[in-house]
C-alpha cells in the first residue's frame, strides 16, 4: 500500500507535482495517465526517493520514506528508459543485483528471464542490446525479487506484441497475488483489461482516481482509451471556455 499526503514538487518555474493526496491499495493495478509532462514520472521518482519532494509525506506499507532506504526492498522498478553500465554483461547485472539485495536463490522470480529468453544472452554486454531487449531486462529485473509493489514506467513501449502479452500475463499474476502495480502508459488499449483503477494527472495535479468500471459508466465508453480521450477533450474544452 502506498499513501501520499500533500505532495508538492517544483522544478524552478514548473510545478511538477501540485498537492497530490492519494492512496493506492494492495491488489490494485493502477494506470497512471496524463499528457506528456504532467508529472507521472516525477510522482514515481518521488515514491522511489530518486526525486526529493519539497513538501508532503509518502508512506510505503505504513513506513514513511525519509532517510531509511530499506522500504525499497518491497519495490520493483522498471524505468522508462533502462540505463545500465555499458561494460556490464547481462548475467553480471543480475548477479550484482542479487548480491546487493541478498535473497535466497529459491525465492527469486526467474519467470520473465526464462520467458523473454534472456538466459542465452547472459554473456552479451549491455551496450550491444537493442532497445526492446533492454526493456525486457528492465522488466525481468523489476520482477526478479518478487516485490510486493511494482512500479512500471511505460512498460510496453518498445516491446514486441509477444513480449507485451508475456508482461501482461505477469502483471495479471501479480494482481491475483494481491500485489500493488503502478503503471504509466500512453498506449491505453495495451493495459485495458488489466487495470483496476485509473489515475489521471494534468499539470502536476491529480484530476481523479477512479475505478475502471465507474469510469466506464460515467463516460459511457467501453474502451478505456476512448473513455480517457473523451475526458481529455472535456478538460481541453474547459480550459478554453
Amino acid at each position: 500500500m502506498i499513501r501520499i499526503e500533500q505532495l508538492n514538487k517544483r522544478f524552478r518555474k514548473l510545478q511538477a507535482l501540485d498537492n497530490i493526496n492519494v492512496v493506492f491499495g494492495n491488489g490494485n493495478v493502477i494506470s497512471l495517465i496524463g499528457p506528456n509532462g504532467s508529472g507521472k514520472t516525477t510522482l514515481i521518482k518521488c515514491i522511489l526517493g530518486m526525486v526529493t519532494a519539497d513538501e508532503g509525506r509518502i508512506y510505503v506499507n505504513g513506513q514513511m520514506i525519509s532517510n531509511d532506504p530499506s522500504y525499497r526492498e518491497q519495490i520493483g522498478y522498471m524505468p522508462q528508459i533502462g540505463r545500465y553500465p555499458d561494460n556490464m554483461r547481462v548475467g553480471e547485472l543480475f548477479r550484482m543485483m542479487k548480491n546487493i539485495r541478498i535473497m535466497p536463490e529459491n525465492q527469486l522470480d526467474k519467470e520473465l528471464l526464462e520467458k523473454f529468453r534472456l538466459m542465452p544472452m547472459f554473456d552479451k554486454p549491455m551496450r550491444t542490446l537493442s532497445g526492446g531487449t533492454r526493456q525486457k531486462v528492465s522488466a525481468a529485473l523489476a520482477f526478479y525479487f518478487n516485490p510486493a509493489i511494482l512500479i512500471l514506467d511505460e512498460p510496453t513501449a518498445g516491446l514486441d506484441p509477444l513480449s507485451t502479452e508475456i508482461l501482461k500475463e505477469k502483471i495479471q499474476d501479480a494482481r491475483s497475488q494481491q500485489k500493488l502495480v503502478l503503471v504509466t502508459s500512453h498506449i491505453l488499449s495495451d493495459l485495458d483489461e488489466l487495470t483496476t483503477h485509473v489515475m489521471y494527472m494534468q499539470d502536476g495535479k491529480m484530476i481523479f482516481l477512479k475505478q475502471i468500471d465507474v469510469l466506464r459508466q460515467e463516460t459511457g465508453e467501453d474502451k478505456l482509451g476512448k473513455a480517457i480521450a473523451s475526458i481529455m477533450k472535456h478538460e481541453l474544452k474547459a480550459q478554453f471556455v
Partner: protein
Amino acid sequence: MTRLIRYVLYDILRNKVVITYALFLFVVSFSLFQLEENESKAILSLLNIVLIVVPLIGMIFTTIHYYNSYEFIELMLSQPLSRKRILLSEFTGVAVSLLCAFAFGVGVPVLIFSFNDTGFALLIAGGALTLIFTSIAFLASVKSRDKARGIGFTLLLWFYFALIYDGLVLLVLFSFSDYPMEKFTLLLSALNPIDLARISIMLKMDVSALMGYTGALYKNFFGTGAGMLFTGSIMLLWIILPLWWAVTAFNKKDM
C-alpha cells in the same frame, strides 16, 4: 558497502586508465632516479611532477568516472541503499585505486632509491593530495549536472590550485611587501593543499635554507610537532569537508 565498492573497483580496473597512470608514474620516477646522480635532486624533481600530475589526473579521472557510472548510480538509487552509502562507495573505489596507482608508481621507486624521511614525506603528501583532489572532484561533479560542465569546472579548479593561487599569493606579497607578512603567508599556504604539501616536503630537505626569512619562519613552525599536526589536520579537513559537502548535495539531488 564492501559489495558496492567491489563493483566500483571492478569497473575501474576494467578500463585500464588507472593502470596506465600507475605505469606512467613508475616510468617517470624510475627514470628521474636514474638521470640525477644526487637522490635528493631527483626527489625535488619528482616533487614538482607529483604536485602537478597527481591533482590533475586525480580530478579528471574522478570526474570522468563519476559521469560514466551515472547509470550505475541511478540503478543503485532504486535499490534499498542509502545515497550516502552509494556516494561513499564510489569515493572509496576511486580513491583506493588512485592510491594504489600512486603507491606503485611513485612508492616503489622512492622506497628503492630514497628510503628516508624526505621520501616518506613525499609519499604521504602525494597520498593526501590524491584523496583531497578526489574529494574536491566529487563535489564538483555532484554539483554540475552535465559532463562538459563538470570536467570544465574541475580543470578550472586545478588551474586555480596549481597555478593561479601562487600567482595571487605573490601579487599580495609584493603589494604589501612593506608590512610584516610572514604570519599571513603561513595562513595563505594552508588555504591551498598543493602549497601545504610542497612546504612540508621542502622543509625535510636542505633547500629550505635558500628560502630566506620566510623559509626560516616556516621551518620554525612546520618543522615542529605542532606544525606537523597542523599540516596533517588541515589536509584532513581538505579531504573531509568537500566530501561531506558532496554527500549533502547528493542527498538532495533530483535524478
